[in-house]
């Protein structure tokens, strides 16, 4: 399978991690599959997460991230394949697994009439922590997530972001070897996110825990992840460090950004057409940017053409038209773009494969009809509770 080959190839490329990678993986999944009826939520997943690393499980809503996590915790049973956490089968030994894994569920809730500290105390007691140790740990983790001064207020007075911080504290109370955070940054403000990611970094470095982070907010988490796995429609389509993925997906596709000053008589369409006619330009797309009144375009370049020649041609064309150039830069692909390229590529091939592999009559049905329906169902089911969460 392509993913596992890539996974194995990865260690050599980042010497900084070879030490931690020499260890045994603490989470492994082999051919892990979850079906809901005929719908495949997670499809033959192979994955290794090592102690001392932050692994980002990235993918859009409904990709199967949460389902994967639930199977790792023994909260949902795999349809086939296997998963091992700390060497244990979560289906057979759920308690031993849960003792070692701190988990922040997606949209975690708390008992609203209890204080933050009381909520954590309950978790500590469920984990059979001794009273003294528990109180110490609760104070420590509350301080770590920046809730020390609100710890004795009722949770119903917390904002959503504060509840999310409390959720991270809750996952840390049991002093876990493995931390699994599902969408940990969704409701936290940008500065808070930076703090959270910093905290995660310190936890991983200080204690050598393994951190698995599921998120659809790629740009937020890309800076903190040692490796990411890109998830789409139940399949892990790629694994590697962000740099590796950038090279893999951005290497054959470069983009330059061109901006000209907008004068009263400039004809945007005509300039666009002129840019498109330059040698080496494959596509032109207007890209409005906030903050300036300029006209901007993103030009996708033919990978086979020379980039400097194309740039020179664009420059000449602009000058010849008597326009004022304000921008001519190369953009490196962000994780967002990598991700979009990867997912689009994956969905396209998947559609083709399915049409080919099924009977002529049913092919279109399988590739088209199934996904949107269940996505919609899921969305409507989550609706009320999400709204409720806002109110609290």
């Amino acid at each position: 399978m392509a993913t596992s080959a890539l996974d194995r190839a990865a260690p050599g490329s980042r010497p900084a991690r070879t030490r931690s990678r020499a260890k045994e993986p603490i989470i492994t999944a082999r051919g892990l599959t979850k079906m809901y009826g005929t719908f495949t939520a997670v499809d033959r997943l192979n994955l290794d997460v090592y102690p001392g690393e932050i692994f980002g499980l990235l993918g859009p809503n409904g990709a199967g991230k949460t389902t994967t996590i639930l199977m790792m915790l023994g909260l949902s049973e795999p349809t086939s394949g296997e998963v091992r956490v700390a060497g244990l089968d979560p289906t057979r030994r759920p308690l031993d697994v849960k003792r070692r894994v701190g988990y922040l569920p997606d949209d975690a809730g708390f008992y609203p009439t209890l204080t933050g500290r009381q909520n954590l105390r309950y978790t500590a007691r469920l984990n059979s922590l001794a009273r003294g140790t528990a109180e110490d740990r609760i104070s420590t983790v509350l301080a770590q997530v920046g809730l020390a001064d609100r710890a004795d207020d009722r949770v119903e007075t917390y904002s959503r972001g504060m509840r999310q911080r409390l959720g991270i504290a809750d996952a840390l109370v049991k002093d876990p070897d493995i931390l699994i955070l599902d969408e940990p940054t969704v409701a936290i403000d940008p500065i808070g996110v930076a703090e959270m990611l910093d905290l995660m970094r310190r936890l991983v470095q200080g204690r050598g825990i393994a951190l698995l982070l599921a998120s659809h907010l790629l740009d937020q988490v890309q800076s903190v992840c040692d490796r990411v796995g890109i998830f789409s429609a139940g399949r892990l389509i790629n694994v590697g460090s962000v740099d590796e993925l950038a090279r893999r997906y951005g290497g054959d596709r470069s983009e330059i950004l061109v901006g000209v000053e907008a004068a009263p008589r400039t004809d945007a369409a005509a300039i666009g057409a002129r840019l498109a006619s330059q040698p080496g330009v494959v596509a032109v797309e207007p890209r409005p940017m906030s903050g300036d009144g300029d006209l901007n375009w993103a030009l996708t370049l033919d990978p086979k053409a020379s980039e400097s020649e194309t740039r020179a041609a664009v420059l000449r064309a602009i000058l010849a038209d008597g326009l004022l150039l304000t921008r001519l830069t190369r953009t490196s692909p962000s994780l967002d773009q990598i991700y979009r390229t990867a997912v689009e590529g994956h969905l396209a091939t998947k559609g083709r494969v399915e049409v080919r592999s099924t009977e002529p009559g049913t092919g279109t049905q399988t590739s088209g009809g199934r996904r949107p329906r269940s996505v919609g169902r899921r969305a409507s089911r989550r609706g009320p509770s999400a709204r409720k969460g806002e109110r609290r």
Binding site: M35, T66, L70, L73, G74, L75, S76, E77, T79, S80, T91, R92, R93, P94, L95, D96, K98, R99, V101, Y103, P105, D106, D107, A108, G109, F110, Y111, P112, Y122, T123, R125, L126, N127, S128, G167, D170, K174, R381, S385, K388, G389
Partner: protein, 335 residues
């Protein structure tokens, strides 16, 4: 889907868990629930309503008993009549009040046990801790039953103390034993409704719907069940003029049908426990009644009479639990 296994661990796993954690999960859940209950509004409301209603019933009962004291003196178990006597102004004896209220109390304490956690979003977090899923159900059941039991026992004690002061008779050991047996029976009965409400809270995702369903079942059982039973028996009734044996069999059938309802079971058992002269529950033939020596039963004889009812109530509770477990085990954590 092939080889469907439940997420439930084998007994071997559970034994190993027990040795490491000594099965503390359910106790932790119960302790938290207990604290929640005692501070909750529904607890205070229940305590206030039950306490006041109990005092009112016992006031009227003791009044009646005092008025009739001259004829009643010497009648067996006079003290227990405090719980059972009815009058014109007040048709509700204490036990009637309790048998009416208990199902509602059980429902009130259980209808949102699991779906409440679900809608708060605390269920995934709770189940990600090292406890079994059934620890959650067991802990909540234990806490609810303990709270209700305590309330019931204290209200009964209050009633007894009040009666003691107003009537000036001390209950005999037999009377006290009967009272205790009745409280235990009532706790079993409320446990059944609590278990049923928790089953609804597992199976029905919205707490309001679960409460409505549980309440509807109670209403149907208390209003229509006997009616349906007699209609059914009536439909199967033999033609007039048939052998008396057939008539007796039909009457028995009707009684057995009504005994499918926990409400009937509890009421029959209550009557037998609180009234020592009740020798049997069910159909009594004239010749049996003729031959019966008018006497009272001892407490252990009465216990024998109510034993089948008590066992049936426990069996129904266990059934509710079993169904709730199976559904809960198969459920997705998020919903």
């Amino acid at each position: 889907m092939t080889a469907r296994r439940l997420t439930r661990p084998t007994w071997l796993d559970r034994v190993s868990d027990f040795s490491t954690q000594a099965g503390r999960g359910w106790r932790t859940v119960a302790a938290k629930e207990l604290a929640d209950h005692v501070l909750s509004r529904r607890f205070l409301v229940l305590l206030a309503i039950l306490g006041l209603a109990a005092l009112a019933t016992v006031y009227f009962s003791s009044q009646l008993i005092r008025d009739a004291a001259t004829q009643a003196s010497g009648s067996p178990a006079l003290f227990l009549r405090l719980f059972t006597v009815t009058g014109d102004q007040f048709p509700f004896p204490f036990f009637g009040l309790v048998s009416f209220v208990l199902p509602l109390v059980g429902i009130a304490f259980g209808f949102d046990a699991i779906n409440g956690e679900r809608s708060l979003g605390t269920l995934p977090r709770l189940l990600a801790q090292p406890i079994h899923r059934d620890d959650v159900i067991n802990g909540k059941f234990a806490a609810g039953l303990l709270v209700i039991g305590l309330i019931l026992a204290s209200v009964t004690a209050l009633v007894a103390a009040f009666g003691l002061l107003r009537l000036g008779i001390t209950p005999g050991a037999g009377d006290v034993a009967r009272m205790i047996a009745w409280v235990v029976l009532s706790i079993v009965y409320v446990g059944l409704w609590l278990a049923f409400a928790m089953l609804c809270s597992v199976a029905i995702l919205r707490a309001a719907t679960a409460a409505l369903v549980a309440f509807g079942v109670w209403l149907a059982l208390s209003l229509f069940f006997n009616l349906v039973a007699s209609l059914l028996a009536g439909a199967l009734a033999p033609a007039a003029g048939t052998a008396p044996d057939a008539l007796v069999a039909n009457a028995r059938l009707e009684q057995q049908l009504t005994e499918l309802s926990p409400i009937t079971l509890y009421q029959e058992a209550t009557v037998a426990l609180l009234n020592p002269s009740v020798r049997t529950v069910g159909v009594v033939l004239p010749q049996q009644a003729d031959r019966a020596i008018p006497s009272t039963l001892s407490i252990d004889q009465s216990l024998l009479v109510v034993w089948p009812q008590a066992v049936a109530l426990v069996a129904l509770t266990v059934l509710c639990f079993a169904v709730a477990y199976v559904i809960f085990m198969r459920q997705e954590v998020r919903a």
